[in-house]
Symmetry: C2
Amino acid sequence: MSSQPNHPALLIPGPIEFDDAVLQSMSHYSESHVGAPFVATFSETLSMLRKLFQTTDPSSQPFVISGSGTLGWDLVAANLAEPGDDVLVLHTGYFADSFADCFETYGVKATQLKAPIGSRPQLPEIEKALKEKKYKLLTVTHVDTSTGVLSELKALSEMVHRVSPETLVIVDGVCSVGCEEIEFDKWQLDGVITASQKAIGCPAGLSISMFSGRAVKTFQSRKTPPGSYFASFKNWMPIMQNYEAKKASYFATPSPQLIHALHTSLTQILSRPLAERFATHRETSQKIKKAVTDLGLKQLASDAADQANGMTAIYLPENVKAPELLPNLLKKGVIFAGGLHKEIAAKYIRFGHMGVSVTDPKRDDIDRAIQALQNGLSEAGYQKA
Amino acid sequence: MSSQPNHPALLIPGPIEFDDAVLQSMSHYSESHVGAPFVATFSETLSMLRKLFQTTDPSSQPFVISGSGTLGWDLVAANLAEPGDDVLVLHTGYFADSFADCFETYGVKATQLKAPIGSRPQLPEIEKALKEKKYKLLTVTHVDTSTGVLSELKALSEMVHRVSPETLVIVDGVCSVGCEEIEFDKWQLDGVITASQKAIGCPAGLSISMFSGRAVKTFQSRKTPPGSYFASFKNWMPIMQNYEAKKASYFATPSPQLIHALHTSLTQILSRPLAERFATHRETSQKIKKAVTDLGLKQLASDAADQANGMTAIYLPENVKAPELLPNLLKKGVIFAGGLHKEIAAKYIRFGHMGVSVTDPKRDDIDRAIQALQNGLSEAGYQKA
């Protein structure tokens, strides 16, 4: 059913399994980055991103830049905040620490609001923090890939707009765009950064983001120049606007092959209603979480409302060690990821369930993975208490 | 002979035509970026880069990062110089202006030494500049993609080491690595930055670079932290060292597909002696330059010693306009690039001759291109004076 050679199903929280047509687009013959055929492909890709993020506001600005998801942090920190500005970083795991590091690199003062592992900062404490100090922007990790904790964006953004209307709402959507509901305009978001290799279903190598007209104005009214060259809005914004308007433009050479793959993947995603895509991810996630609970295991995200729909972080039973379980799962044809949150990395595993593994009815990746997990735990001597 | 569909031969100074096997590697099935198979591939790729750059000094440090060639400038400017430092930028066209911009972004004072279009700064004036002020580093564009001017690295580096031994010698090799001779160790270079999509023959999307042990020490003795987050040696150096030692490591997700393609391309390049590869590029370049001269046309690089071996920048005859000639060449199955140097962009075209179009005896790209150029000029009413 697949033109890909037999290989273990990659069920980590990114990179994910890719569709055959997407992978075939990766080997597109070479094209000029400023020639009409590629310019048209890039233009359509940028337009499709507007649909994926559910924004029709013409002042919204998409960016697609060669790089990894991490580059999105530089885009935010070097363009939307200035040295000496205060920003509020909501902490749900590994990635908030790194985002804070990125802000500090550009001279921006990051205040972290932390929560216990597996939880997230609550609205009342965020509101309190916003009332105590003026923050240029607030960042929230929509799904923290290290813990599988899902943050609630809609109520958060409403509260920020009410309490501190000048504060930009910035979302790290690396592990959420494409599998979790995001309504960029309706929820009044100012920035969502993501990467190609997770729920968008295109191989790694692209930093993908959407910023609001308000964010662009914040950038335009900077008193200091942007802190980065490669991540500078000043360098990239005219390029993105030109490409979308089907005009060739040059700052740095884009990757035609990756853009073709992204074009294919977005075309597939947008061929069905987004609501249906999100519902399928939710249903599959529920099935997986039920199987985990039935096995007597606990998730890092203890509250069901805080559980991501594209991944599940699972505490291992006392006597089961990841360095023994994961290779056994690989033998069964399934790749899960180990823990990433520094404090408890050895104690849990992560199961990614995004994209074609979830949406393609011809694949049985998820059922095989649940079965492999059950058998693997049993072979490791684990019995439900 | 090729599994790629019929398409015009892309003969611009990058991206270039890619080999079938390289493009097939782009559609490699999805792998974990921290799993043993991909870690082995990345390790071998880093080792092969040492061979490509002709460095056996274990203190040399290769980097392969998702991004474009431009990111290499940030690597240099944000890690090897500190705010307030002086650097000397040798100017041969468009790219030195941009590199200088990049330095200024990070608070580094860039002094440009300019030369007339089609020429390059000469050793005596560079020596004079180095004696007048202490420069942390000097940058030279090995081949300026905007003008086709080739700089001489060996004599330059010898002079810098003699006159100003503390000054690092940094090479922008975006349009030279893989087609022009570079002996990293023997010539005592401190940094060479490049990209995947030119003479290395792998699709765009990777920033590739090599730095000397001396450059690494310069970084390690910084008094201020690096100016960029995504381009920080601090973040990337442990990752590159771990991957090369076959240990999984994480800062930002690499692109397994692009690394596979680079692995394939480097394997092909290193299967033959490098000297032979450089000689083939020189011979083909000579043939093209002779054809250009026979047509009565002039190159931007007027002195034969300053002419690149992987591209040719050609002044158009008086009455021939690029916006008419280039589409006619496309009809004949050949893609050339327009001018890029701001002051004279409309007056010239660029012909790239790197990689498989030059080295693969099964391809007739170069002969077809020369023929198309002759016919295209004739159809535009041009006759040799």
